[in-house]
Point group: C2
Chain length 460, copies 2
């Protein structure tokens, strides 16, 4: 059992500062716990309430009848330390402090007082200045952020708002979460411990971190924890504050010193951590890393029905270190025999606007079967007279002939291809709206595969 | 009257190779012309048809009763030269050759034969290997691509498929087109002439080009035409094939030699042409360039309700050369008086998750009124308890107090903010889903403003 089980998988939860005003965090958190189907007792604490949302409320944490694994404090700053003391006396095992106004605004003293208090009573605590967490597989929604789709991404973030942003991006891309944790100022529980917890958390297949300025001691511990985890489970991070101006902004937001981009990037790479630079890279890498097999190399075969997007795809691959090699002459000859003379049989294979479902199925299957191809990127810009649903089904059928190579699609032209996207999603073929996003997402698979193959054999 | 008026604003159109099979280009083009409300006579030409879509068809172009400004040829390659000859004899003034299989597949000879034939009869022609064009303001849909929303972007592209992609991107972003032209192999009419035509084309406020590998002579003429246009009308291009691998792919697609990225970039910059690197940059720049005033400088004020996205926005600004300076101390003091102590009054101004519509309206107004701010970027990640519609309306109201500075929003968290996006669109406030896209789109305004301000006074 992990030290963090009382925090992240509690049997009972109290909410100190529960409220009956629907707009308040103290209401939303209690409501989230109930709506989320938490299986143990929930204890709203507020001296002015006797019931809240059809369950009994209590005037103080001390007056709660049963044991309390986790107390969530949503009081204003001045009241937090006293509540922490009460929790300690009650024997509460873990605490989340959502309240803000501590080290992030320069009040290190108040934050240290919380840490001492927690230590005095042997309580672990998350925050302050955090949004809590939601663990859909355990049915614990200990947050005011409850719009979570269940899946296999374990997400940790200093920032609570970034949890909301990530959740929305995930929803839009059909990705679900196994857990998200907002650790705020990390006065006690920090990203390193969460990383370790997630490495053992079965439903989490990919650990995803939004690391806004790790302070030095945090960074060392995080990197050290990562080194032993990344050989077994992939870890992906987005670290903002990579510019001088961003660093200054971070300092004012979290009180943490954002390090030099190059130093972090090198350290991440050494620890086997995959680093994204933008939100799109971040979510797109989640898509490929959780659904596709790792490739044996970086050789991409591109199929397209239009030259322009084909060239954009080649450019995009080159920018992220993927190779788009020419095919062997025997393979080109074979393509020449199959395709009409107006098609280009080089890589990209350009089947032209008249390329139909039959063409797509046949060519994708040949590319997947080609030993000199590690990855297949299929581009389609459907002309007005083509049947994109049929082409989509053809690609899905072709993909079934080879499950060991990653294949992604780039169905371009927005609304025109929209109705075919759910088909791709059901067939777990990641689709991207632009060649750049497709290529970048694929490059994370290559990075991961390379890193694993360079590990000493005993570790892998 | 421009030399290209017969081509791009014809009074009568014939379609040689018209078809009654709904899947064929020869059908789609005739249908597009009719559905698009073309005001002059349309003459389908096909020896096997007497009527098509309720209008009379003709066995040959020679048998068409009236004058023909424009003939669209959609025959297979072998029949094109003969059709061109027939057009010449008939006195047709301009031709579009959609058929492919010419220089893009190495058959320069066949292409030169077309050019000679056109010259012999004094006809101008577009193509071969092109998708034609659509000019919604003139109600001419001379293309198989007819899903065009009317607006003020004039788009030219070698690739027909890229027209489809661009149209879809534009639709998704609420942008409309004044015209699109696919010029294919540009055997006669090339991008330089189209650029000149669009410079005089009233409905086109921004000229947008997807330039897939300009051959040298084309490039020289294009740049020379641009130099006299960009002081008066902005020109934005996306030029793929900017990597070695991409260059090779282009050669096989269009037969054109893609030049070195650095040479082109320098030449574009000198000619005042704005260059995008990815499809998102391309469409996002269209959004800011067509809706916002030009800024006096590059100083961005960022307002956010969450630190994390604020830092991402600062990083994004720094990456594209926008400055996010600290505010004057008197201004910070003023913000301090207005905002609760938990807020950060630096740039970004972080009003925290409790920032409501009142906060947004007040702060945005102050930022717009601040003389040391050239551009305002407003970020919002709505917490579950906030009212994003009210916040949106507040920002719209604030924007009305100052129409001389560009303001964009970055409403993050996808589906959560979706219902408020139409409000922003109606208020012509460009919105972007990520800080990176917002900052990049703004940077194009700054580039344009800088270039204009560096022009000799006589030219500007």
């Amino acid at each position: 059992m992990s030290q963090l089980d009382n925090l992240l998988n509690p049997k009972s939860v109290a909410v100190i500062g529960a409220s009956d005003k629907t707009g308040r965090i103290g209401f939303v958190v209690v409501n989230s716990l109930i709506q989320g189907g938490f299986s143990g007792p929930i204890y709203p604490v507020n001296p002015r309430l006797t019931r809240l949302l059809d369950i009994p409320a209590f005037p103080s944490i001390g007056s709660v009848p049963g044991e309390v694994d986790l107390a969530i404090i949503v009081l204003r700053k001045e009241l937090v330390l006293k509540a922490m003391e009460d929790c300690g006396r009650k024997g509460v095992r873990a605490v989340i402090v959502m309240s803000s106004g501590f080290s992030e605004l320069g009040d290190d003293e108040a934050e240290e007082a919380l840490t001492s208090k927690a230590r005095q009573y042997g309580m672990r605590f998350l925050g302050p200045n955090c949004a809590g967490y939601a663990a859909p597989w355990e049915s614990v929604y200990a947050s005011f952020e409850n719009r979570v789709q269940t899946g296999n991404l374990g997400f940790i973030s200093q920032s609570g708002a970034m949890c909301a942003v990530f959740l929305a991006l995930a929803r839009a891309e059909g990705l679900g979460l196994s857990i998200f944790v907002s650790y705020g100022n990390a006065a006690d529980v920090g990203p390193d411990e969460l990383l370790k917890y997630l490495s053992k958390h079965e439903p989490s297949h990919l650990i995803v971190g939004y690391l806004e300025g790790l302070v030095q001691r945090q960074a060392r511990k995080f990197l050290s924890a990562a080194r032993s985890i990344t050989p077994h489970k992939p870890v992906l991070v987005l670290k903002p504050g990579t510019t001088g101006a961003g660093t200054r902004a971070i300092a004012s937001h979290t009180g943490a010193l954002a390090g030099e981009q190059a130093i972090y990037s090198g350290a991440f790479r050494q620890a086997g951590i995959l680093q994204a630079n933008t939100l799109y890279e971040f979510i797109d890498a989640c898509k490929t890393l959780t659904t596709l097999p790792l490739p044996s190399g970086n050789r991409v075969a591109i199929m397209t029905n239009s030259g322009g997007p084909g060239v954009l795809a080649v450019d995009a691959c080159a920018r992220v270190g993927l190779s788009v090699p020419r095919f062997e002459s025997s393979f080109m000859q074979h393509l020449n025999e199959i395709l009409p003379p107006s098609c280009s049989v080089d890589n990209p294979v350009d089947v032209g606007p008249e390329g139909n479902e039959g063409t797509y199925q046949q060519i994708v299957q040949l590319l997947l079967a080609n030993n000199e191809v590690d990855i297949v990127l299929v581009v389609c810009v459907p002309p007005a007279f083509s049947d994109i649903r049929a082409i989509t089904k053809a690609v899905i059928a072709a993909k079934r002939t080879c499950t060991s190579k990653p294949l992604v699609t780039c169905w371009m032209a927005g609304d025109i291809v929209a109705e075919s996207l759910p088909l791709l999603e059901r067939a777990t073929i990641p689709n991207f709206p632009t060649p750049q996003r497709a290529a970048t997402a694929l490059s994370f698979l290559v990075r991961r595969a390379r890193w694993l193959s360079n590990l000493p054999k005993t570790e892998s």
